[in-house]
């Protein structure tokens, strides 16, 4: 049986107390929320923190504040996010993303904050210690070489969060709290295109809130590509959000990509789409723009060239769904369920 290494366990009751513990313990302490990302990593000895600081009993981490926008506590489980009243109607892209993370059981455990801070993934890294030893380890942990591209100066592990691209497209930001106070950052700015140092979150900061702007007149969607209907991380995530004028043309739009880089990111397709109607030609051009930004590497499931090849088509699905096309049959074939 795979086992966790020994560690010390702290279970603070407030954000302030958790922040104090993090500061006091330094880099040996790691936050644990749902544990669905951290614990497998610890069992595989990718991480071996001396102290686990649990957020499960921290007050306020499951807050839901409804106003013009919506504020979601970072400690809400993905199942709780999915079940949040009105979320599916107002932020369908987030609902679709959260609904497709892992499995039903894991969504009862994994949190929104945890999904946003998900460790980057790589088929040379997400392996047992014995396996990684057999390749002489890799740049991300215990080694020097990035085996994905041996000439690479940086780690090419993949951002594999589903919620981040969906939330980036929705224009969300996150609140980070530490002993030094709190700050809000646009979600896109939480990420860095570096498989090792993939978050701009400072050590000691806790992601406490996800702040969603007003969604009136906005519509959103998330398309996830993966092998199976459950379990799998994305090998591509396309999130699109658009504000529609009464005449059906787009006032404002954002298209974000996940799982094709070390960070989730906004593409420039949003600017292109502004002021246009979603004709087949416009969709095709936007999809081409999006696809040109996708740089998948050979470190996830599926053939890497194929992954690159289907980005445009998947982007098209997202935009066609926003146009109002009936995409249920395509969803059923790809996601194995209608969403």
């Amino acid at each position: 049986m795979m086992r966790l290494p020994w560690f010390r366990f702290e279970s603070p009751r407030s954000v302030a107390e958790a922040a104090r513990i993090l500061e006091g313990e330094g880099p040996g302490a790691v936050l644990i929320a749902g544990g669905t990302d951290l614990l497998p990593n610890m069992k595989r000895r990718q991480q071996a923190p001396q102290v686990l600081v649990s957020l499960s009993r921290v007050e306020g981490m499951k807050a839901v504040e409804d106003g013009a926008g919506l504020t979601l506590g970072g400690g809400l489980t993905l199942a709780e996010v999915i079940g949040t009243a009105g979320l599916r109607a107002r932020y369908p892209g987030l609902w679709q993303a959260a609904s497709q993370v892992a499995t039903a059981q894991l969504r009862n455990m994994g949190t929104l904050g945890g999904n946003l801070c998900l460790d980057t993934r790589c088929s040379y890294y997400d392996q047992n210690h014995e396996w990684r030893k057999a390749i002489g380890f890799c740049m991300k942990r215990d080694g020097e070489t990035c085996w994905v591209a041996t000439a690479s100066k940086r780690c090419l592990a993949v951002s594999s969060t589903d919620c981040a691209p969906a939330l980036i497209a929705l224009g969300a930001s996150v609140r980070l709290e530490s002993t030094a106070g709190e700050r809000d950052v646009a979600l896109a700015d939480l990420y860095r295109n570096d498989g090792i140092d993939y978050l701009t979150r400072r050590p000691g900061e806790i992601l406490t809130r996800v702040l969603l702007p007003d969604a009136a007149e906005w519509t959103s969607t998330y398309w996830k590509l993966r092998r199976r209907g459950s379990f799998d991380f994305p090998v591509l995530g396309v999130a699109a959000a658009a504000k529609l004028a009464p005449d059906g043309s787009i006032t404002e739009a954002r298209v974000a990509l996940g799982a094709v880089s070390s960070h989730p990111f906004l593409t420039r397709a949003g600017e292109f789409l502004a002021g246009k109607r979603l004709t087949d030609e416009v969709i095709a051009e936007a999809a081409r723009m999006v696809a040109s930004r996708a740089k998948p590497m050979d470190n996830t499931d599926f053939d890497v060239y194929w992954r690159k090849e289907v980005v445009a088509e998947f982007t098209g699905y997202a935009l066609r769904e926003r146009r109002g096309d009936d995409m249920d049959a395509v969803r059923l074939r790809t996601a194995r369920r209608t969403l």
Partner: protein
Amino acid sequence: MTKRTHFDVIGKPRRRVDGRAKVTGQTRFADDIVLPRMLHARLLRSPHPHARIVAIDASRAERHPGVHLVLTGKDFPVSIGILPVSQDEYPLAPERVRYVGDPLAAVVARDEQTAGEALDLIDVTWEILPTIGSPQEALARPDVRIHDYNDVGNIHRNQSYQFGDVDAALAASDHVFEDLFFFEGNTHLAIEQHASVAAVDGEGKLTLWSSTQVPHYVHRQMARALAVPEAHIRIIACPNGGGFGGKTDVCNHEAVVLKAALMLGRPVKICLNREEVFYMHRGRHPVLMKFRTGVSNDGRITGMHLQTLLDGGAYGSYGTASTFYTGALTPVTYELPRYKFEGCRTFTNKPPCGAKRGHGTPQPRFGQEIQLDKIAEKLRLDPAELRLNMVAKPNTLTANWLRIGSIGLAECIRQVVDRSDWKNRRGKLPEGRGLGLACGAYMSGAGLSIYWNKLPHSGVQLLIDRSGQVTVFCGATEVGQGSDDVLAGIVAEVLGIDPFEVRCVTGDTALTPIDLGSYSSRVTVMMGNAAIEAAGKLRALLADVAAAQLQTAPEHVVLAHGRVFRAGDPGKSLSFKEVVVLAEAKHGTLGAVGSYTPPKPPGRYKGGGVGPSPAYSYTACIVEVEVDRATGWIHVPKIWIAHDIGRALNPVLARGQVEGSVYMGLCEALMEEQSFRRLPPKLSHALVHRAPSMLEYKSITALDMPEMDTVLVEDPDPNCPFGAKEVGQGPLLPVMPAVANAIFDALGIRIDELPITPDKVLKALARKAKGENPRVGPDHFPEVPYPEPMLVPPPWEGGDGNSVEPAARAGRVREVAP
């Protein structure tokens, strides 16, 4: 066996006898066993694909608090192996490791955590050896030898058979089709990881509880590995949490915990983690195949030449048998007048391949059934009609001297054709949608044991006493397939009692008569026939005493529903227990044994022992696909399957076996692959499993599984208990080629290799768009130094089942120019 038409138990859907234990969590799998003072073991595995162990220093590990024992290769001087011809593995590698994951040391400690910590403290000095990563490389580098005991280079097994002059047949044919196929390796992925517990009993003898499908073979090999008499070792096969062939080999860890228990006098447990299970492997061989098939204008096969090249991995395992199986069963589905088969298995520095559901036969079936689809296309024949016109006849011999008894293949084809509306839909669906048909066959138990002997393959002992209790003993092993239920059901049917009144004691070499194990789909037929014999003997005693009491002749006594009647007179009866008391009074202690030995195979040539079976099962399958032109994405909405089972003893379980096979076949068709990653050779000699995890080794989830339409075709086979043939493996075989054929119907492209993935679909579509051959698959078959073929005339060419030239020639390798 008397022909019966009415049954009280057989053929009725019912709760399996071990169902309650399984749903309450009471079924005791090997890792569920906890014994007082039990210690825990873990194995140190090689990080190198091929290396010499220069030195091992375990002193730091031995000093680690909580560590009781460190074992290394020097503790195991004797090699083991499932087949007598290739006992080439040591429980712990003594001087050389041959794949990443090859075990070389073991730590026994107070708990698993401590044992794991101590593994890191074992210092090994290595001398790295060149890596052989593929059969092509194995053939090209005979200088780098993975083993020394084989004749040449890295060729483990090499054989050639010719049943009639195939070249002449092909030359005289209207058409000759030549096709290459590749079937990637894959693994069993039973959810239960292998576990074993060893203990020394009060008499100083050893007991091993293990997740094994083959306690008898483990028994023999453990005695060999430990140099302990077989009579002093007891192997208890726990119910397996899925086997699929993955627990049919003898395992390193089984010998390790036994040795440790013996040395420490305390129970020792081991449970492999998932990555280690991928290294244990023994799964489906990757096979490259070349078919040359002669066909007449009316779509009849005139002759076939099949060549196979197997990637065997680092050790022999079942490989010798696997190599035979890539050719042996090919002729049992359709009439095939002449047949030539050449097979070669190479060693490579990967986990050993062995037996997985269908053992060696799904690979050639995949190729053959796709080739038939190509033949039908070329000759403008309906693929179903093409097959129906040449289905093998019952009670005939094949070109390679296998005896076919009952064959329900034609009915299976008709069933799936009708139920899928094939005639109105195949070739007529909109582009992107298609139907594909394929067939398969499998044996109901191997005709010969894996070691040569004249002994029964299965034994059953039955005890009844005055309490009315019935206990049946058999070495067979419950691996999920329902072997206990088959046993109880058969005994219950013969004795006229409820199956829940039968207590099964199974899979225990100290208590139960020998059964060779749960492999080759042999249990129902072999154990079942032995059970009928044993139960029949007791029934005769009971009928004898009851007849006197009921004032009738024994042949007019009926045992049913727990009572004993006079035929045609339900008014007068005795309880089962009353009759048992009478019988015990008259005959003394009541017991009976039965045993089963398969019929002698008609083929008498050397190597003819692989393939014969008391009966063959047949399956036909139609798969519907929807393939997206733009992405290549493959969606399977429905699968129709019809399986010729002879008779379904318990239809609930029979259907479960068929559907489970369809599921696993679809996994192999679309996603499963035990594939390996080679790092840039300039930077690293590493050769690692790509995805030794349940997340990245993909298997179908509940959301991905299509609707299944399952038909059991029942045509009782006289060699089988109540006519029941196998069902656990055969239905897997046609699924993969049916998917490939459906994709052709949908898009006019051929994917001639597994798994069939969307990127391959797009590649083939791109070729089609460019006017090239719209196909993805292997395009080169390497020069393999197959030996001169052994010549065995087929039955209709005057043969007697012997080869016409000295058998010794088959083992010799033909010289090849450098």
